[in-house]
Symmetry: D2
Subunit: 331 residues, 4 copies
């Protein structure tokens, strides 16, 4: 039975708590949040104790921590948890500073604790199935990957302003997915972006519509497009071309019902809400972390995956601003 | 070069004339129609001569006839063409009287001329592909066939009144399709029908919505449903279950374009017009007749197929009226 | 908090126990099973007590019972629970004897306890959505319903022998679905059936492939087909035609992944296992029962629905054996 | 009746001749080809005369020319035809030199003859429908266009070597499609490309797999990907995102038949052959040219469209080689 401390009881902390509840081999024993009411509510629903973060990090009855606090708290909590020898699950982005992530990587490596990065989409059954088929050779060597991610609607400007920008906040998931699917590191990136959805986003210095081309040393290509709007739901698709064919994962629709009228044949919109769309992924993710923390499995995605995605997000932000391609450093 | 006489220059005659124009090894040399203007127009567009029916049947420069006249003219024209040793293509239904069809069958057999019945749907590339895969064993032994046929809208009441009723006018195509796909004769039939689309159709003694169950001696089952209305286009589908899987043919939509909005994902309606939906089928049908008439191929479907479909249509009309199943005679 | 007694801890009892666990306003306090080990395991996983059936029926700390025992136990348990004033959820079929179901209906009505029949498919989100759209008038008045249900593979012959036959064991779900979708009672039924999947099933006096036509007083038509085999998964589809269009619910596939190769475009099989396919339905069903048992909602489907489906299943068995249609009694 | 001269009787010339045959208001009166046998065969099948190119250009009985000769003949033939006042249809690419195209544009403008460029895909019913819906405002202002074009298999190396490279030979169609769909000129382009399909193509200095990002002055984005291989057929798709939704056109499959087995649900491959895939487009294209040449319609696409696509193809070739984005000149 893995004993967990939950740092951060906001929306994503609640998602992970619900997942842990469904597992037989883990339970949350302590929770912390900057908002006492949030911590108390979480404690009530999980049966855990409210403690402060330091107490959790040093507690002998806590084997592992789930970090779902604001990004600027991650660094201290990771360093503290590593020092205390606790297994660590940390939400993306690990840190806005690549140097900080490198420091965390060193600390984690020094102690040898499992560290898992919160790229939940790798655990989506559709994307995981698609990747398994690539690895099984169903389409031969991968040549071209196309990733489409579109949010149903933009977040508030206040969120945009402290998000680090679309490439670090939103496309970072797609950078990780690109690496997950391609199986070869990218060496060069070119990004473009515009504010077409809401001029306020542009005035805040960010973009809401973007596209990136990535290439690997062997010449494989990945295209990513992002938008902060999609009338028809949360659009999350990947398409992978290999020497012998194509694999693609389509959206999950709200139901299998189709209506046919004079206007034609209409199916439902894609599921709108990310928690619904990735419900199965979040559960599988926690199952994966518990397996890694209890020693039965490699932590995957790990801190290096978190680092690489952040490096790519930084590079994309730069490329978008300069209008020039950026060479990516070797990992 | 097969020299053809075209009897009947109405809508279906025009369809066949257009198909013949596209073939290199056949041409229409003589045309006839009860309406002089129709015959003249056809002659102008094909380069053929206008003659009367008897002159065509006895003409030494006519090898074969295409009969697209009203149903009550078919019998005399078939008997005349058979006697004159001409290959015969005759639209469905061959005759409203099963006895008359049997007499034609005898006459055709006595002379040995090729006779092809106008069940155009057998030549639809989708249905033909589906059937070829059944014959290739792709789904193993056939167990259950489901046929759905729905017209976009009902014909005028005046047409309904002289049509012989839905089972003889519309479902006759599906009876032929059922035999085509099943590969075993049916021995029993139960039909139900109602007037739900237009009460005028009911007052005319006919139904506009109907369903039939057919069974074979070995216990295989076929379901057919028909309606005189379908808001979303001309609905023409078949689904065949076998020991190892299912084959189905879906509708042909007006384009491959899909629109996604808040309302969901919408594709186009099915093609509405039977001439557009079965354009390729009508061409393949004439190609098949020309091949049979010039000796290179068996006429398929033949006059026995026309007879069997008519027997089934009669039985379905009876079953619908009595509310009881009907045993079908062996062919 | 609704306090539940669970009668029967086999496969379906376990399904319901898992659903109850996910609800906040109900818990299982007592469990019973003819197999002590099954009851003990259920008690361990739910925290409930093992008791015998009579003790549960008379227990003051039990508000409602879930009956998931073998069919021949249902009658006594329903009568006992009704007498004790407990809300009742009973799996289908309620009883193999229509007279017994009528007696239960009288007993339940006399006491006024909520009674819900276990037709889980009504709670499937796809079918429930489809029906809501019919009721909203999206396709106008319903004219024709087509229901396709195919199991991935036949059950063991030992199960077949005591199942009451395909129409009572399998198609009973479709009879209920037909009523659920049509919104008008059926007055006449014609059934055919064969043993095509496994000759052992035929030797056991049952069929494994069947089709039924149902009609209502106003002339609406329903087609149902069933088979004990479907290579491509658990096939569960409905298609409803109305005056203004069609609604259909397609199968749930194992993932959204599609592969394209020289062989074409291939999507996954349909989910094979009924517990996976109907997982959401089983949960919604228990949510519905808890709502009914705690007074907030009408029990739906109720015991009359259970009775009607059983009457239809009996009629279909008769029709299949005699080869004649059967008139259905008014409810 | 438009009287046409056909310059070039190879594969594409034959396509256009077949289209003209199906039109009532145009006929080919003279044909020319460097290979006498090709010209003779075309003359036999069309009833036209064989003449040499100059004779056709100066013939008083020729109203318009269709230029389907090798690219390096286009310039002289266009200049000659313009001088002779004949309407001109010219296959893409108009010329490998942008300066030459500009000279042709001047000559055509000076005389005022209609000039239509052979971008057949604009006439594909699916793409034309999609674009009409964009123009009708069905998805609001366009934000992002994604174009996927993949050939079933690479052409011979001998063809590659004199093709001008993938961007000028293959992606030029997609550059035109991008302009056709976007409705705003592109100002900047970044291209990447690799030889992943066949190393011989790389050794010939070309790429077989490529991706491009294009941007407009208002920040709209277009992604294009190309490959010289697609196991599942000729892959031709577009997807357009606007403020209110998405429009996409899917591939045309070989039939509507689907097979379901243990392996899942499989539809046919996409049509493999470009002549089959674009059969309707080629016919509509000639109908459009005849309308323009006889004065009833604007020539569309015109020579400026040909110029712009060539400029973009040149820029993409440069960008791919330098690894840097390229600014596109205003038209």
């Amino acid at each position: 039975m893995l004993r967990l401390g939950l740092l951060g009881c906001g929306r994503i902390g609640q998602v992970h708590a619900r997942s842990i509840k469904a597992l037989d081999d883990a339970r949350i024993v302590a929770v912390a949040d900057a908002m006492p009411a949030a911590a108390a509510a979480m404690a009530a629903s999980t049966g855990a104790e409210v403690r402060d973060v330091d107490a959790i990090l040093s507690a002998p009855d806590v084997d592992a921590v789930i970090i779902g606090t604001p990004t600027d708290s991650h660094f201290d909590q990771i360093m503290g948890a590593a020092k205390a020898g606790k297994a660590i699950f940390c939400e993306k982005p690990i840190d806005m500073s690549v140097d900080n992530i490198r420091a965390c990587m060193d600390a984690v490596a020094a102690v040898g604790v499992p560290f898992m990065a919160g790229f939940n989409r790798r655990f989506d059954p559709n994307f995981a199935t698609l990747r398994a088929r690539i690895r099984a050779g169903d389409i031969g060597a991968v040549e071209l990957v196309t990733i489409t991610s579109r949010d149903p609607a933009p977040p508030p400007i206040s969120y945009i302003e402290r998000s680090g920008g679309l490439f670090r906040d939103m496309m970072i998931h797609d950078f990780d997915m690109a690496r997950f699917l391609m199986g070869e590191e990218f060496i060069r990136l070119h990004a473009v972006g515009s504010s077409l959805v809401d001029p306020e986003i542009g005035r805040a210095g960010d973009v809401d519509t973007a596209a990136v081309i990535l290439t690997t040393a062997s010449g494989r290509i990945c295209q990513i497009s992002n938008s902060r709007r999609a009338a028809y739901g949360y659009d999350q698709r990947v398409e992978v071309h290999g020497a012998n064919g194509m694999l693609r994962a389509e959206n999950q629709l709200e139901s299998t019902v189709e209506i046919a009228t004079e206007a034609g044949f209409r199916r439902d919109p894609a599921q709108h809400f990310f928690l619904e769309r990735y419900e199965a992924a979040y559960l599988a993710e926690m199952r994966g972390f518990v397996a890694a923390a209890t020693g039965g499995a490699e932590a995957d995605p790990n801190i290096l995956d978190g680092l690489q995605a952040q490096i790519m997000a930084d590079a994309a932000s730069d490329s978008r601003q300069t209008g020039q391609p950026v060479d990516l450093p070797a990992p």
